[in-house]
């Protein structure tokens, strides 16, 4: 394969090359955590009740069962924010006295096989005295509700507010107020690989290697060393192949702390792989929110002010490292969306309940706030007698940089342009004609729009604004060329399916003139990779990509310097291509392999003018950059069954410069599938006493190939001014836009019935209930009788 480089006109960046990750994964040679053999296997005894006091735990004779009492000196997990009236609450590694949700780990059973550990688990007698629990966030806010933690009176763990000056005056003078009450039900990110950990003790050094399914290996190392009070250098964390994360695998799982503790105690290897039930009940949840949103509009349907109250059910504890602020604070900062207005009054509360702890899930609040805001825009359009497209045209931002009402700086993007691209591609008049014809045959088609921004690649200032005790942001990349001429980039990011190894290799290839297939990208091993924050929040291509670019430019400069020495040519005349340095316009060249060999083994030739070796570091900490998109869903709702089928899905999106179009499209596809699942199917259901009714994949329903229509993508590239590679992130946009587009389409389809559905997921039961209640009130109106029960 030929390598190209700067100057030749051909670049690797921008090409849909096949992924370097794939050959191992398609042949069964991927290495996942659960593939490792271990001496001991662990199963966790979990709380069967939502709230109570542990009275006794009786293990069978001779069984090794570890409880909170055994973990002397082990600190609880404590996630801290220094703003927004945040109340730190401690999460014990194993429940100490009190249990706070069904599924909370109470004890660890250790045996020589998983099956044996499960047998012992069945024989443990756990007695818990039930106390009163509270599952729903609004119920938890009421006077007299059970208190989950005494440190957070009234169950409010966080209370954030923004109110712009003169808000009340502007609000009072509004032409029209439109109100939206949204409910987003609880979801689980459901990576196909459940969580798993394997801790192995190394006797000669006393070190422990924890292999686990994490998105943040270095942060896990720091956190676990902290909690166990051990030197961080005694712990190595490896994230091998990780089978999807979507945010669920970025929080510290208490189970991993237990594994490391056990490995040190037993001086052996100890493994745990959760089953799907554990994942669904205790593997972190998300998106359980009530959102009230009111928009004030002027006579021209121009949004002038927004008022919102966000209640996020954060579960029983606050996840580490982001804290439970991640959902309510994201919602508060980004509820204004891509619309231009100057007055904002927002309150966002995090509320503790006796449910599984909330943690980030792809999109983090933006799927729910985009759903809420885009429903509001559709309601406003209807109130003004406008088309949904028109109201968005009137309100989208168009001048950049734009500083939002919540203080975020939006870089150059294409909100209006992508709306027009999408509208043109969908052929709205043709759809409306088809919709009218279908209605005559009692078939209900609908179209739904979502225009939104996706904040990506934000560095430490953005996280610092939340007052985080652990403030992520920057990334480091070390790019080296070894004495044989082989390039290796060690990165702090920790991809788990995104194809980042390929994308970064493309960036490096263009700088140093080597084919991407010849470049190794190493990640997910704290002994090998530089400290970094891992992969989450659509950050890796922007931040790790930027750091890669910096490191690669330094290596390029060094190679040119070495070549100019060896070829006795001016640096300006050297080009790097095809794995060699060449003097432009001549046949003189030297291979990178030869340059590398000399850089290590013949340094005296450089007379002290060039440092030995070839290894350069790049660090990058950008402010953040906004991708944008317009999504359009076309659905058909079966009014008899309430079932919605998405028949067409169209996206016009702009994520800046695209490094690998194949990978980029894959991210959008996958995000939309999750968003459609969030819109129609996926819901964690608790009963009143806090038991989970959706503990299998036959009850909690990720979409299958049947539910996902062909996805039509239209691209536009507005190069980011806030990203070295000009790329913006795009890992979450699909999930952010889909619930809004799909549910707006359902509402459009059901418009003849006067039905409004403002809840996700819009399951068949909810659609039917809404239809029944609409038909009932229509009937009551017609007959003049008040509505019966």
């Amino acid at each position: 394969m030929t390598a190209h480089t700067k100057g030749s006109g051909m670049t690797w960046v921008g090409r849909a090359i096949r992924r370097l990750e794939d050959p191992a994964l398609v042949t069964g040679q991927g290495r996942f955590t659960a593939d490792l053999p271990a001496q001991y296997w662990v199963r966790f005894l979990r709380s069967p009740v939502a709230a109570g006091r542990i009275e006794s735990i009786k293990a069978p004779q001779g069984a090794l069962v570890v409880t909170a009492k055994d973990l002397t000196g082990v600190k609880p997990i404590l996630a801290v924010l220094h703003k927004f009236a945040y109340r730190p609450v401690a999460q014990p590694i194993l429940a100490a006295g009190e249990v706070r949700f069904v599924g909370e780990p109470v004890a660890a059973v250790v045996a020589s096989s998983e099956a044996e550990a499960e047998d012992i688990l069945d024989d443990i007698e756990l007695v818990v005295g039930d106390t009163k629990s509270v599952i729903d966030a609004r119920a938890a806010l009421q006077d007299g509700a059970p208190q989950i933690h005494k440190e957070a009176p009234g169950n409010v763990i966080l209370d954030g507010r923004i109110k712009t000056p003169d808000f009340d005056t502007v609000w009072a003078g509004a032409h029209r107020i439109v109100t939206m009450e949204a409910r987003s039900r609880r979801q689980n990110a459901t990576p196909m690989e459940p969580r798993a950990g394997h801790a192995a003790y190394d006797a000669p050094t006393g070190r422990v290697t924890l292999t686990c399914t994490t998105q943040m290996p270095h942060v896990m190392r720091t956190a676990i060393a902290d909690v166990l009070g051990m030197p961080e250098s005694d712990l190595r964390v490896i994230a091998p192949d990780v089978g999807g994360g979507f945010g669920q695998k970025m929080s510290l799982a208490a189970e991993y702390v237990v594994l490391v503790w056990l490995a040190r105690k037993l001086k052996s290897s100890v493994a745990w792989t959760e089953d799907r039930r554990e994942n669904l009940i205790a593997g972190f949840h998300a998106r359980d929110q009530y959102l009230t949103l009111q928009g004030a509009f002027d006579e021209d349907a121009k949004l002038i002010a927004l008022k919102t109250d966000i209640i996020a059910n954060v579960g029983a504890y606050s996840c580490f490292p982001t804290t439970c602020g991640v959902e309510p604070l994201m919602a508060m900062a980004e509820m204004p969306g891509p619309y231009d207005f100057r007055h904002y009054d927002a309150r966002a509360r995090g509320v503790l309940t006796n449910t599984c702890t909330m943690a980030p899930y792809r999109g983090v609040s933006r799927p729910t706030i985009t759903f809420t805001l885009e429903r509001l825009m559709d309601k406003a359009a209807r109130a003004f007698g406008l088309d949904p497209v028109d109201i968005r045209r009137r309100n989208l931002i168009g001048k950049f940089p734009y500083v939002s009402v919540a203080g975020l700086t939006f870089d150059e993007a294409s909100y209006k342009e992508t709306l027009e691209m999408a509208v043109k591609a969908i052929d709205l008049p043709a759809f409306r004609a088809r919709q009218r014809d279908a209605r005559k045959q009692s078939r209900y088609l609908g179209i739904g729009f979502a225009t939104f921004s996706e904040r990506t690649g934000y560095g430490s200032p953005a996280f610092a604004a939340r007052g985080m005790e652990i403030t992520p942001g920057w990334e480091t990349v070390i790019l080296s060329i070894d004495p044989s001429g082989f390039a290796e980039a060690r990165i702090g990011a920790s991809p788990h399916g995104q194809g980042l190894r390929t994308a970064l290799a493309q960036i490096i290839a263009d700088e140093i003139g080597v084919a991407p297939q010849m470049i190794r990208v190493v990640h997910g091993d704290t002994d090998r990779a530089p400290y970094g924050w891992g992969t989450f929040a659509s950050r890796s291509l922007v931040i790790s990509g930027g750091a890669t670019s910096i490191a690669a430019q330094k290596v390029r400069a060094k190679l040119i310097k070495i070549a100019s020495h060896m070829l006795e040519a001016s640096p300006g005349d050297i080009v790097l291509e095809d794995g060699a340095a060449k003097v432009a316009g001549t046949d003189r060249s030297v291979s990178i392999a030869k340059m590398a060999r000399e850089a290590y083994t013949q340094t005296h030739r450089f007379k002290g003018e060039i440092d030995p070796g070839i290894s350069e570091t790049g660090t990058y900490d950008p402010p953040g950059t906004f991708s944008n998109a317009c999504h359009i869903a076309v659905v058909e709702v079966d009014v008899e069954t309430g079932r919605t089928m998405v028949e067409r899905y169209l996206v016009a999106e702009d994520a800046g410069r695209i490094i690998n179009p194949m990978i980029a499209e894959g991210q959008v596809h996958g995000g939309i599938a999750q968003g459609i699942g969030n819109a129609l199917l996926e819901e964690i259901v608790y009963d009143e006493s806090g038991g989970i009714l959706t503990a299998t994949l036959a009850d909690y329903l990720p979409p299958t190939a049947h539910e996902i229509p062909p996805i039509e993508l239209h691209h536009r590239e507005t190069p980011s001014t806030e990203s070295i590679t000009k790329a913006k992130g795009l890992g979450e946009g699909g999930t952010i836009g889909a619930p809004a587009a799909v549910v707006n389409a359902i509402n459009d389809a059901l418009a003849p019935f006067g039905v409004e559905i403002d809840e996700i997921p819009a399951t068949p039961q909810r659609v039917r209930a809404a239809l029944r209640s609409a038909l009932h009130s229509a009937h009551s109106r017609a007959s003049g009788n008040p509505a019966g029960p």
């Binding site: 096949r18 992924r19 990750e21 794939d22 050959p23 191992a24 994964l25 398609v26 042949t27 069964g28 040679q29 991927g30 290495r31 996942f32 659960a34 593939d35 053999p37 099956a115 044996e116 047998d119 459901t190 990576p191 196909m192 690989e193 459940p194 192949d241 990780v242 089978g243 999807g244 979507f246 792989t273 089953d275 799907r276 788990h496 399916g497 995104q498 194809g499 194949m662 990978i663 499209e665 894959g666 596809h669 996958g670 995000g671 939309i672 599938a673 999750q674 299998t696 994949l697 036959a698 990720p702 299958t704 190939a705 049947h706 996902i708 062909p710 996805i711 699909g734």
Partner: protein, 159 residues
């Protein structure tokens, strides 16, 4: 439950004589007793299909079959798809069409698709979509999996 029974699993043409408890699933036996960890376990209740293998040519969820039930049967796993270093057309198609991201569900999808197309090479697009709906993928949104399988089907038919 700890009494073990000797059985022989023939996996990818090789015999593995192993001793298993009656309750041991085929998935666990393949992974732990035969050491073939390419077969993944995603739910252990027969929904996700990550553990799909071929047993006597039929796609089977190996978490729902006991190892003892597969005694003497011909089992094929993802490790047996490539021949002499040459990828199976299905593996190549998944790479060419970006039909995988994290790769965890991939072995199950590969075995499902290969099993179905070997049995029914002329399967319609609609029926193929039906079959592919039996497994879950959380990363790709399925579009590229469907594309990959259709492309491989064409090639397997010699078109």
């Amino acid at each position: 439950m700890t009494e073990k029974t000797p059985i022989t699993l023939t996996v990818n043409g090789r015999n593995y004589t192993i001793a298993v408890e009656p309750r041991r699933t085929l998935a666990d036996a393949i992974r732990e007793d035969c050491g073939l960890t390419g077969t993944h376990i995603g739910c252990e209740h027969g929904v996700c299909g990550a553990c799909t293998v071929l047993v006597d040519g039929e796609p089977v969820r190996s978490c729902l079959m006991f190892a003892a039930q597969a005694d003497g049967k011909q089992i094929r796993t993802v490790e047996g798809l490539a021949k002499d270093g040459e990828l199976h057309v299905m593996q190549q198609a998944f790479m060419d069409h970006h039909g995988l991201q994290c790769g965890f569900c991939t072995p199950g999808f590969l075995m499902l698709a290969v099993g179905v197309l070997e049995r029914e090479p002329d399967i319609s697009d609609e029926d193929l979509l039906d079959v592919l709906s039996s497994n879950l993928c959380r990363c790709t949104g399925y579009q590229n999996i469907v594309k990959a399988v259709r492309a491989a089907a064409k090639e397997m038919r010699g078109q």
